[in-house]
């Protein structure tokens, strides 16, 4: 299992592979797939951070637990696309819907430190 620093380094590497696009560019399979991979590691990192938070502060944050669980559950519905697949609205929306609870969880942990 990767350490927290290794996971964060992996997240940075994945962001480095992401490409900004402009009007008229082609949509490649790696574009949505990179987000799916990134979010999988991001959820793991957030869970590890919360464990460290509990160890350090001795308190639990029910909202954070709920948001992390929500993000993990939603990530189970994501899919990776391949050549010939259609990028559906749900592929885009699921990524957004996973990012939002991660943001809320990180904000609350940060405010309570």
């Amino acid at each position: 299992m990767m350490s927290l620093d290794e996971l964060i380094a992996n997240l940075e590497s994945l962001i480095g592979q992401m490409e900004y696009v402009k009007d008229g560019d082609f949509v490649f399979a790696r574009h949505p797939n990179l987000f799916v991979d990134w979010l999988e590691d991001a959820i793991t990192v957030c869970k590890e951070l919360y464990e460290r938070f509990k160890t350090k502060t001795g308190t639990t944050l029910p909202n954070v637990e709920e948001w992390l669980s929500m993000a993990e559950r939603r990530h189970g519905f994501t899919r990776k696309v391949k050549f010939g697949d259609i990028v559906l609205t749900k592929d885009h929306n699921l990524i957004i819907d996973i990012m939002k609870p991660l943001e809320l969880a990180l904000r609350e942990m940060e405010e309570n430190l």
Binding site: L4, I8, L11, E12, I15, M18, Y20, V21, K22, D23, G24, D25, F26, V27, F28, A29, H31, F35, W38, A42, V45, C46, L49, R52, F53, K56, F83, G84, I86, V87, L88, T89, H92, N93, I95, I96, D97, M99, K100, L102, E103, L106, R107, M109, E110, L113
Partner: protein
Amino acid sequence: MSFSGSYPAKIIDLGVVGQIYVVEVTDVFKGADYLSKTSLKNFSDAGKSADYICKDVLKPVSESMRASDRHYWLMVKVLSDSGVVSDYMCRYVLRVFSDYAVGEFLALRLPTKECRECVTVSDYMCRDVLKSLVEAGVAVESVSRNVLKSHADLGAVTDWSSKDVLRVFVDAGKLTEYVIKGVLKRLEEVSVVSDWTKKSVLRNFVDVGLVSDLVAKDFYKRFEFEVPSAGYVKALMGKEFRESITVSDWMKKGVFKRFAETGVVNEVFMKQVLKVLEFEVPSAGYVRVGIGKSVKDEAVISDWLVKSLIKSFHEFVVARDAPYRAITLVFRDMVFGEYWAIKSKYVVLRDSSKMKDILTKIAYTIYGHDVRRVYWHKVWGDIIEDTDHNVKIEVCKALLDAMKRVRDKLEA
């Protein structure tokens, strides 16, 4: 004592003893005589008594014997009489039997006669019944003929109806077949046109490449020719160079023109394909029924005309039918690569997408970045724009920064 002296004494003694014995014997005899007399008397008395008894017994015995003899004779007589009676009874019984047999014979003859009469009556009745049955049969036959005639008439009507229905079905089948054939033909034509376009584009590219190569060679040839005599024909070289540049410029324009023509051909081809697809949309149901493919999203297919081009293009890309796949592959191979179709659709509709943000997309903020959830709209479809993709990258970076901050605070 001596022998001679004792002997006389002894004899004397013996004489005394003898006398005693004689007396005793005499007494014995006397007693025996007395006893014999007594016994005889007793015997005699007994004999007398026995004789009396015998006589007295014999008499009853004799009487009994006589009686038994009588009884015997009586018994014999009885037996004889019983035999006679038995014989008589036998004869009587036999006679009775004989009479009974005769009676039975007579009795048998009577039922036979009655049976014969019954048969006669039955025969008569049978004839009567048969006659009735025959008449009933005739009536039934008449009825059945009528019924059969009705059935036949009904069958004819039904046959006519079924033929009519079948004809309708056949017509519908022909229509469906025609539609399917038409659609397949159009798809085939699209495929052929696509193939032709591909070949044409590639040929144009090849031609352009050849012309370009030729021009370049010609230019370098002139250049090589001019270089040795550079000093000699400076002015001329400049002239030639100018001419070469002019020719190059002309060729460049020609190449660009051919590129532009290729683009026009592509656009025309695209329009043709879109037109064909648009035409095929109303008959998509027939095609599906004919090919046996189920439609995945009923909500999507319920609005054929409204979704129109976008829907058809979606299905064109997603289609699982072989012709569609073939066309899709040709398209992708010919042009640019994956998601070309999506992007084309996107390019076509990107101007209108600006107007539909409010209706089709809901924005919310993640770390200060406006992200949008995309929804299907029956007019504008679901367009994921480039900004949606770029904002997600920004959000990822913001989330990563937040993670690092939390990690630093935890480690502090």
